[in-house]
Symmetry: C2
Subunit: 216 residues, 2 copies
């Protein structure tokens, strides 16, 4: 397909497609004349991933380039390749190592992971940006005096644990390792706002059930 | 307590406390001399909420002021008061009403809410910012060609639904309606990164189980 069709099918303007090509986020098309190039389904899929990262995940262009390098590195084993791609996504601010609430937060997180038997997370520890993100989030609860013990964290871990099965199914259903990594990154980013919006709706629903139901 | 103790116990610098006082986010203390004022536990609690909103929730100062007005408005019934406070929190970009993917996204969301029997959410519809956030998030899945049907959304709704019970328990355990609203806002904001971090850890765990377990 030509640039115009690639733009139309992806919903990304031709100016933005050209920008992604210049920035190396999209591989060049096959040149068919001095002024025209031909693109294929691979370009379309890559363009959708770039769009998910930049427009939904708010990932900076330089970070998107790192994610794509991990997606494309077929010398890595599958878990590392998936992990490397997801690990380059933004994870919010790092926990403040010097703050007094960080050590108790880390103890609760370690106790939680031990209780869950999440041996991969235990083995990775501080190396994992999601672990550091969790320590930072729990430190916020500690600092502000809200419940942060294992019993209060467990329902969130169980909810997340239930989602992981269907999520990895969606990834595993893709045909090639490259497409799997692409799907893992896109689904991680795209389902975050779905989950947060549903949590707010569920809270309002439960709150209305308990405290009364004012109609608009 | 004096300003210094209020600052120490809340972990908010005296300069920031003074800024919040000037901006009306914190009510003035009881004046005890020309240069000194006395603060109480109520000030400490309010300061922790302001901090949760601004430092964790990344809520702009003007928005924090609106949230606090809803927290303080005891003329409202409990559900509306809780709702008004949580509704003023940021919910991400509004869905693009003119985009071709918005109507199919809205249809899936409505089908999902009907299937769940979430009658409060159905009654509120577009009025609820969490509903609009969900439509926008599902529109992102539609636009990028990822699964977005009711069957794929249900696991997220069920996970969120399970969390709502313990969450409303935490809110209901507070002594006064004002404290309940305060807890609802703080817990909504503070547990979001906990949930997202645990989801990423659970995905990595499941991925390691299925695709192999590379140790660092």
């Amino acid at each position: 397909m030509r640039l115009g069709e690639l733009s139309e099918r992806s919903g990304v303007s031709t100016a933005t497609v050209k920008y992604y090509l210049r920035e190396g986020l999209l591989p060049p098309g096959r040149r068919v004349s001095a002024t025209q190039a031909e693109y294929d389904e691979e370009h379309l899929r890559r363009l959708r991933l770039v769009r998910a990262l930049i427009q939904v995940g708010r990932v900076p262009v330089a970070t998107a380039r790192e994610v794509l390098a991990a997606v494309d590195d077929d010398s890595l084993d599958p878990t590392t390749r998936l992990g490397a791609a997801v690990w380059t996504l933004p994870h919010g601010p790092e926990p403040d190592g010097g703050a007094p609430e960080t050590p108790p937060a880390r103890r609760e997180v370690d106790a939680l992971l031990g209780r869950l038997g999440w041996s991969f997370a235990v083995a990775m520890g501080e190396l994992s940006p999601a672990y550091r993100m969790l320590v930072g989030a729990v430190a916020g609860l500690v600092r502000l005096g809200y419940p942060h013990d294992v019993e209060h964290l467990l329902p969130y871990a169980r909810a997340a644990g239930q989602l992981a099965g269907p999520e990895v199914d969606m990834v595993a259903s893709r045909a090639t390792p490259g497409e799997q990594v692409e799907a893992a990154v896109a689904l991680t980013v795209l389902f975050e706002p779905v989950l947060l919006a549903l949590r707010r709706l569920a809270e309002a629903e439960e709150s209305a059930r308990r405290f009364g139901f004012p109609l608009p």
